[in-house]
Amino acid sequence: MTLAMRNIYKSFGSNEVVKGLNLEVAEGEFLVLLGPSGCGKTTALRMIAGLEAVTSGDILIGGEDVTGVLPKYRNVAMVFQSYALYPHMTVAENIGYPLKVSKVPRDEMSEAVRETARKVHLEDLLDRFPRQLSGGQRQRVALARAMVRRPRLFLMDEPLSNLDAKLRGYMRSELKHLQAELGVTTVYVTHDQIEAMTLADRVAVMEAGIVQQLDTPRRIYDDPANLFVAGFVGSPPMNFITGAITGGAFECGGAGLPCPGLADNPRAVVGVRPEDIRVTGAGEGWLQGAIYSLELTGDETIVNVAAAGTHLISRMDKDFDMPMGAEVGVEILGERSYFFDAESGERLRTASHSGQPIAFSDGSR
């Protein structure tokens, strides 16, 4: 089913949390709403489910206007962050509840419950109560309950955030596989950018009730629309240095970085991803600084360099070896730097490749 949200506004009292949301989700697409807490992403999801009324705007599911329709008539399924399993029901009763309330015949229901449970590997646990299950198992019960009837949409509200790191990785791939297999349109809310990048067909990055960028994960990463998206996506986050653009070069602290084709701007920001920064010997490179801290993560070393009045993070390989406090230089690789206006946060682009990715072609399917 397709989903469309047109010009959605939502206020709680005088507090406006969603401001003019427009989304079109294609049949079978996996859309992730990504943003920090309080950005309105969960409210948006709850409006799709019908748990919150919209202040203004229209919601269409499969072309049908459902704006004022009660949740029970929308035929969507939702997985809650807390899973919202009914504690007084067994796993089988939990999974079968959506069928029970719509009065599906008993034998048909138990057949459907067993079939769904098999899909999420719960067939041996059907008689247990939620309190007897581990976190991962509870999560799968919640998934099964969403899958058991064929909903028009899957809605997921941070479903993996209560799992430990290892299980989260496993469930992520499981989720992706199930969604692709069932082909049900999915809207998924998270603040975890890794989940967003790995799961989504498209990501909508939200901040302060507004969609900042709606694009494929690759383009969100490689071609951020503004300072917020650039800073929010990526781990460790992108480095920002404030300076000025004069005569086709970005200047800060006496050093210059060429940026041909950009108009002069007295307050500009350059952003560089940690993998595009290299730490070199003292006296070399673009900026000079000292090593503030070193973190060996296993396959690489995260180097934090104090330079240009800020901290720059660089991803070096695991053999990088320099003492803390050592004088170093910082070098920026190639052309992979992004320029922003410091006031508005908007991306500064040259006329030639505005709206185009800098380094890569469109890699989405």
């Binding site: 489910a49 949740p71 029970k72 969507v76 939702m78 919202a84 504690p87």
Partner: protein, 350 residues
Amino acid sequence: MNGKRNGSLRRLLEPKDVNSMSPAGKMVTYGLLAFWAAVVLFPLYWVLITSLKLPIHVNDGPLYIPFIDFMPSLHAWEYIFFELGNDTLRPYLNSIVIAFFSTVLAVGIGSMAAYALVRFQYRPRFASVIAFLLILAVVVWMTIAVDLHWSLSVAIGLALFFLFLNTLGKRFQTRVGNDDILFWIISQRILPPVVAVLPIYVMFQQMRLLDTHIALIVTYMTVNLPIVVWLMRDFFASIPMDLEESAQIDGASRFQILLGIIMPLAKPGLAATSLFVLILSWNEYLLALFLSTADAQTMPLLVAAQNATRGPQWWYMSVLIVIMIVPVIVMAGILQRFIARGLLIGAVKG
């Protein structure tokens, strides 16, 4: 600290380890607790053995221990159950019927209201509430003083109220919220029953329902509603909203949610509240005194009437008291199991 000199005293006053008490403290605590247990149990023990005494055993001064001081006899029990027969059983049955139905109704209706106050926002206009009360007062006045038939004055009152709502009422903007409604319901408990019971007496007299089960059931139910609302509200508020929203999305209706999700989860609260309300209804005295005379007479009235009818015949009275206490203790025992199990679910879940 004080060295070896006070060693034995310290052993007495200081605990052996951090999780236990000092021997002296333990002795004092047990002493006090045992004393209070005696204060609690002795009157009940005395009632029990008095019910097994012959009149001569009672009148000859205190005899304490059955089989040693006196031979227990069932004569009082036989008298109450066989000779009096229906005169005992009818009030007993009345009490059971009235306490049971009023409890079920109060817990049912009260829970609904408590749930609604937790989950919905109510914003009635303050002016409408005041207008309603004024019009109600006018209706009372018209019925009693002007001597209109009550149905006529109620009709006039309703007409006035709707007229107000659709005209003047729209101009007032002050509204009251859920907390005000809750306070209003709970504050009904401040209302002394003796104030309300006179008009209720007249009302039931007019409806020819005096001295019937219905009169007492309805009155007890109303009197206990505030307690139910007050106790159940906290239980409902502690049930996560997620569960309800999830059920809504799963396609359940409000009442399916209430009966299938909320009520089962509030079982421990329902059990505790029911027990409390049941005790109050079972033991209620004043309202029964006003509203029942013969047919609907309840046990407290029967017990109270004993002295008036035949002087202090303690042995018969004791039997009646014992049979009044036993069912409540049995109920408490049954519900206790429920409460414990409910708490267990809560503990594991949280």
